[in-house]
């Protein structure tokens, strides 16, 4: 059994499962902090009920996010020890800073938030939630900077047989990392907003607790509108950067085989990697890919055929992932604009509410697909143009990984089911009457 393939599968399973919970933690924490602040300053009990209701869902999600994150940190050592040795000088410090400056804060203050209702004042308690929200997002910032290094390594020299840090500021201000931050943070806000709107829609459709859920929906709508528009912009910036630094990824995203100017995008295609072309191609619009990649209709875009086979990423998942992400992103903008128009007539818009309820999974899918584009599209490199994934794996037996991979799938499957069930149960129960 091939430890490289199994370790990749295991890491993919572990990150993608972890990432089902992280964006909601990031986005929802900010929404809850806002709701609790409204309560602390106005004393309006409805805001307290909102805070408690969303807080309950938040905590179930948070618990799963934290415990699945810990396994990720250690997998660099267990499964990717050659990688850890080779770039640990740069990469390790980013993880250490994440833990010591951000994750600590989040984890300590979440304990205070959960158990501190009677121990500190309402305003201080709201402040604690802000700390949780900001620390959580700060945590994500460091992880994305670390990922930015894998995508576009900077600030190092190869010395003593490894990548040694030469310029810490260059690593921290790496453009690729910064672009990820301004894309992933709004995406998390969008996901949090869709979660709140979808669940609010559920209760609004049943015409129960309308005061609380109208308020929740409208708060989330503002956040959703702003973040969906932001995502369009930052996605475009990201695309330009990828075209410049990762031509193979760009070509795979569009299943673009032939190097040419005025490169087209195709509406629909089925890539065929063995024949090095698209089996079916429908609706090709010339120049658009050149424009999206380089903001110039005549720019030359390198095709996959001009990239050595051993340097090509898997085309199909990258291509499908990118299509899905962009398609959903466009849908989000349209939904939010429509929602904004109907914002004062929500109760009279049952169809829109139904759509929002059934849209809850969509931002999750969009975000997971975004990571598929980013990470699968980076292959065969673990650190772009510096280290191949196949050279990064630990000298361990495939059977060991097989066993742990099976355990991951079983345990995560179980936890996912339980978590989903508990969240659904709390949603149905609705907000409790608050006596405090």
């Amino acid at each position: 059994m091939d430890p490289v393939f199994l370790s990749r599968l295991q890491f993919a399973a572990a990150t993608m499962f972890h990432f089902l919970f992280v964006p909601l933690t990031l986005g929802l924490s900010i929404l809850i902090a806002y709701m609790e602040t409204k309560y602390a300053w106005s004393g309006d009990k409805n805001y307290l009920r909102m805070t408690k209701f969303w807080g309950k869902l938040f905590l179930i999600n948070f618990a799963l996010g934290v415990v699945t994150g810990i396994t990720l940190e250690f997998q660099f050592g267990t499964n990717w020890s050659r990688y850890s040795e080779y770039v640990g000088d740069v990469f390790g410090s980013l993880l250490a800073i994440e833990a010591s400056a951000a994750f600590f804060l989040e984890s300590t203050f979440i304990g205070i938030w959960i158990f501190g209702w009677n121990k500190i004042s309402a305003k201080a308690h709201a402040g604690v939630m802000w700390v949780v929200a900001i620390a959580g997002n700060f945590s994500a910032v460091w992880i994305l900077i670390a990922n930015g290094f894998m995508q576009h390594p900077v600030g190092y020299d190869i010395r003593n047989g490894r990548a040694e840090l030469t310029d810490f500021m260059a690593v921290v201000t790496n453009k690729h990392g910064l672009l990820e931050i301004i894309h992933v943070v709004p995406a998390s806000l969008l996901l949090g907003a869709f979660f709140v709107m979808g669940i609010s829609a559920y209760h609004l459709l049943k015409k129960q607790h309308t005061e609380i859920f109208l308020k929740s929906f409208r708060i989330a709508l503002v956040v959703g509108l702003v973040s969906s528009l932001t995502l369009g912009f930052t996605g475009d910036m990201h695309g330009v950067n990828v075209s410049k630094h990762q031509p193979a990824k760009l070509a795979a995203m569009e299943s673009h085989w032939e190097t040419r100017t005025q490169a087209p995008i195709v509406m629909f295609a089925i890539p065929d990697e063995t024949q090095e072309k698209n089996k079916i191609e429908i609706g090709s619009i010339p120049g658009v890919l050149s424009f999206l990649g380089f903001h110039d209709f005549n720019a030359e875009v390198v095709g996959l055929r001009d990239i050595p086979k051993e340097d090509r990423p898997p085309v199909l998942p990258t291509f499908v992932g990118f299509r899905t992400m962009v398609g959903l992103g466009t849908l989000f903008i349209l939904l939010m604009i429509y929602g904004w128009i109907r914002r004062n007539k929500l109760l009279e818009s049952p169809n829109f509410l139904k759509i929002m309820l059934w849209s809850i999974p969509l931002p999750y899918i969009a975000m997971e697909m975004g990571w598929v584009v980013s990470e699968v599209g980076r292959q065969p490199w673990i650190v772009y143009n510096l280290m191949r994934t196949s050279d990064a794996v630990s000298p361990i037996a495939g059977t060991q990984v097989m066993v742990s991979l099976t355990a991951f799938i079983l345990v995560y499957g179980l936890l996912g089911a339980v978590g989903f069930y508990l969240i659904a149960k709390s949603v149905k129960e609705g907000p409790e009457a608050v006596t405090a």
């Binding site: 267990t78 000088d89 390790g92 993880l95 250490a96 833990a99 804060l105 300590t108 304990g111 205070i112």
Partner: protein, 342 residues
Amino acid sequence: MELQSIWFFLWGLLWAIFFLTDGFDFGIGILYPFAGKTDRDKRVMLNAKGPLWDGNEVWLVTAGGVTFAAFPKVYATMFSSLYTPLMLILFALIFRGVAMHFRGKIESPGWKKTWDTLIFLGSFLPALLFGVAFANIFAGIPFDNQGLYHGNTLKLLTPYGLLGGILFVLMFMLHGANWMTIKATGELQDRFARIAAKTWMVLVPVAVVFLIASYFATSLYDNYIKSPALFLVIVIAVAALLCARYFNAKQAWFKAWFASALTIMGCIFFGICGLFPALFPSSMDPAWDLTAFNASSSPLTLKIMLGVVSISIPIVIAYQSWSYNLFKDPISDEDLDMDEAY
């Protein structure tokens, strides 16, 4: 002192703080099925560590992260060599974490019983396995100059390794019982005071045997013989262990807890001082030991990270102390009635 030596001791310190803080969480979890007779007892035990365990667990993440940043080669070799035990620990920690949150979410005996079992296993297994792992590290791990591991998981279960495991379990049980004497009241508090006293009776001989066995199974004492001042670490650990019993008898609960905390610190530093400068010694050839000097990051990384942690860690200790202080009072019925309580 060289940067590498500073980092070596910081590395030891972070692991020690992890065991000091999360140690009592493990201990409570190990005692949980035996000491928690009623559902209320159990809930008092869970809520006694509820606000703190999450923050405590991050010391593990930080210890891991700092190993990665300062000694990448150790991080790589240690965790790939100890692949299976580490995976077991991580899965156990996953279950421990969710079990506490999920247990009270549904009122059903079967549901609660399932998570109760996982709370115990999720505390007992990491405690035992960390002990086994550290004892094995003290004794040396079979890996070659390529970082290739030549052992298997079952081979870690040597008598000395198991002794380390039992030592850790007992130390954490004492520490957990001591925390419970602070957080419980009435009959439950008396029960934990008795548990602490009984655990202590077993822990003392085990600790003595461990100190003696270390002489035969490891070369930890070489450093002590070279610089006898180091024996102070062992003296402190032993004195702290004696104080733990004394304060327990005097019903000075906080002092007893500090004493068991110091015992754990002392135990870890007994190993750390003996290992220096090796972080991960090879049992195949001492020339292949991974040390603070041959496995460290570049001086620039070490300097930057030293700057980072010398700012962040004191801040962490400050706000965690605030949090401990906020939750130092015994668990009341009002605490248990809160929606958010476990």
